[in-house]
Amino acid sequence: MSHDLITHTFLPFFDNDVLRRSNDAGVVIPKRSTPDHNLDVGKLAISTDSHVVWPLFFSGGDIGRLAVCGTVNDVAMMGADPLYLTAGFILEEGLEFEILERIIKSMQASAQEARIQIVAGDTKVVQNGKADGVYINTSGVGILPNDLIIDGAYAQPGDIVLISGTIGDHGIAVLEARGELGFRSGISSDIAPLNDMVQNILEAGADVHVLRDPTRGGLATSLTEIARQSHVCIEINETSIPVRPAVNAACEMLGFDPLYIANEGKLIAIVSEASAGQALEAMRNSRYGDDATVIGKVIDKPEDRVLMKTALGTTRVIEMLSGEMLPRIC
């Protein structure tokens, strides 16, 4: 059954030499065509992620696009050029074929956009009632030069903090699609592959110390993690943080804070002060980077903390998200 599914359903879309061999694993000799054909393979970045979003489809995206871009981005955040993905599917018995096909087509389109290949896959079918339709796991691998180190522990006092665009879009779009809270915002998820943006930043010669995509827990959580990993203080300006007016309005209505809402097509870049200008320009010249902007800087104390200068000039401590964000009445 699995074999048939792969041959008749997945292969027509994920068609490539490697998958067609139908082996248990995808064996690849990584190559990218460059002017210098003697390309040193360099380091490999490998990541895996499972996607269980509900509902499966929402404005601006779906679980398929999320599964591809999420892992592409995780690999890209190490400064690596993502090349190959695997895709494992857990399908709920009774899932309509049309839905699965829609998801797969979306994955194909996202894979094409990101210029990666899906080279290995697996499917399992579980009983009705388990799996919310479909769960997808993707693992990804990319290469990066031996001497490139981009790591959450590498933020240094003096560095500049940039964000590639507006925050809160994905979380609000998914919440709206669930329908439980009954609002209409017109916000679309921002799911997008950011590997090209990362390469542009690196090729511009920017001295990049940290890259992170602020997914679950939002910008606040990612910045707090970095501050703790690097033992620095990150200071951001409330007025610099780009938020769409409708996202702000939805947050006001529900009592949410955009800083804590998930993003799936944005990256935080922490770069040396000297190269901030180049990094920003590279981001703005990249697809999905129109609203890229500086949001703050790194200082040495208080360690492990994120502070935000509010629009009123006061200082607020930013903590990590604890638990689920709940709409409040108070």
């Binding site: 439980e180 607020r316 903590e319 409040r328 108070c330």
Partner: protein, 364 residues
């Protein structure tokens, strides 16, 4: 820009009011903001950093999530854990700890616990699930009472017999009496809750102001609104006045919203209520009138054997009355955090402990 919101966050106007406060004040004053939403705003915008040091803001028990009695939370948990039940609630109640679990853990164990934004959503769920018992956890101060009441009236007129309401309504005036009559009271001025007064008006506060000779100013929730409330209070204090004043005139009138008050009277009757951490305050609650007893979840679900067991470390009561600050609690930040709250003031994002934890600069 959200009209009627953004204007009251204007940096320039904030500066104007702050300057006027500084110009007016000549000595230290202690004032309390009753409403959790105001506490949240003060912390989120760092307003306490802008105010002159002579002003001490004490945070009051205006967090209905925080003051819902432990017994009622335990009852809610017992009902939610029953089979064939859909338990609906406002979001902030989900993480409130009962004696040994919370609604989140009931949900994780398979209970059907759903967050609703409006009580009418709970009515819809009851209509869509005629074979299940649907309970709505109706907490709140007077602000939420008109909405909660309407769900009972709707259920009644639709004959929605699978719907019932677990009520935990609390009223502000008795709480103010309790605070002001306490021998430990230090509060010299009150910022009354703007949205409570949108519903109830402010006629109820006049006798309180006179009895305790204390200024009470109806205050809103945006930075400019809160600062204006503080300014009007300081002006009275400096002049030795004690009156009820209104700093939230765009929404609040002396008489309040009459249709809403009528529905409240139709549906609820005053009763004694236990406030978590404080104890019983006479006539401080609203309960469902006998005419609508069939929709009262406390009567419909006979939950026996509730033995509330509060954490001995939690001093939420003293914090709610403004007697202590969160950082004076031995469990604060150590065994009591937003991820693992011992009491309700740490759970609700505008409970004083959670607000301090998340926003306060003093911590660093």
């Amino acid at each position: 820009m959200i009209k009627y919101l953004s204007e009251y966050r204007d940096v320039e106007l904030v500066r104007v009011v702050i300057d006027e406060i500084k110009r007016t004040i000549t000595q230290p004053w202690v004032m309390m903001e009753i409403c959790g939403g105001q506490t949240h705003a003060i912390m989120r915008y760092g307003l306490d950093q802008l105010l002159p040091p002579e002003i001490e803001l004490v945070h009051g028990p205006g967090c209905p999530v925080c003051v819902t009695s432990l017994e009622l939370v335990d009852k809610a948990l017992a009902i939610a854990s029953q089979a064939n039940v859909i338990f609906t609630s406002y979001g902030d109640m989900l993480r409130v700890p009962g004696s040994d679990q919370d609604l989140f853990s009931v949900r994780a164990s398979g209970g059907d616990v759903r967050v609703v934004y409006s009580p009418l959503d709970a009515i819809n769920i009851a209509q869509q699930n005629p074979d299940k018992e649907v309970i709505f956890f109706a907490i709140g101060f007077e602000t939420t009472a008109p909405a909660n009441a309407m769900s009972i009236l709707q259920a009644s007129s639709m004959n929605l017999m699978n719907f019932s309401v677990l009520v935990s309504h609390v009223r502000v005036p008795p709480a103010m009496h309790a605070i002001l009559s306490s021998p430990l009271n230090r509060v010299q001025g009150f910022l009354a809750a703007g949205h409570v007064c949108t519903v109830m008006g402010y006629w109820e506060y006049v006798p309180i102001s006179e009895q305790y000779q204390i200024p009470i100013v109806v205050t809103g929730f945006e930075p400019v609104d809160i600062l204006q409330g503080i300014l009007l209070t300081i002006q009275q204090l400096e002049q030795g006045l004690y009156e009820v004043d209104n700093a939230y005139t765009r929404l609040v009138t002396y008489n309040g919203n009459k249709p809403a008050q009528k529905v409240i009277q139709q549906t609820f009757t005053t009763c004694d209520r236990k406030w978590r951490g404080i104890g019983e305050i006479p006539s401080s609650g609203w309960c469902i009138r006998s005419e609508y007893a069939s929709f009262d979840a406390e009567k419909r679900f006979n939950v026996e054997g509730i033995h509330p067991n509060e954490s001995p470390l939690c001093i939420a009561g003293e914090i709610l009355q403004g007697i202590k600050k969160p950082n004076q609690c031995s469990a604060y930040r150590i065994s009591c955090t937003p991820e693992n709250p011992l009491g309700a003031t740490m759970v609700s994002s505008e409970g004083a402990c959670a607000a301090y934890y998340r926003y306060s600069l003093e911590e660093i």
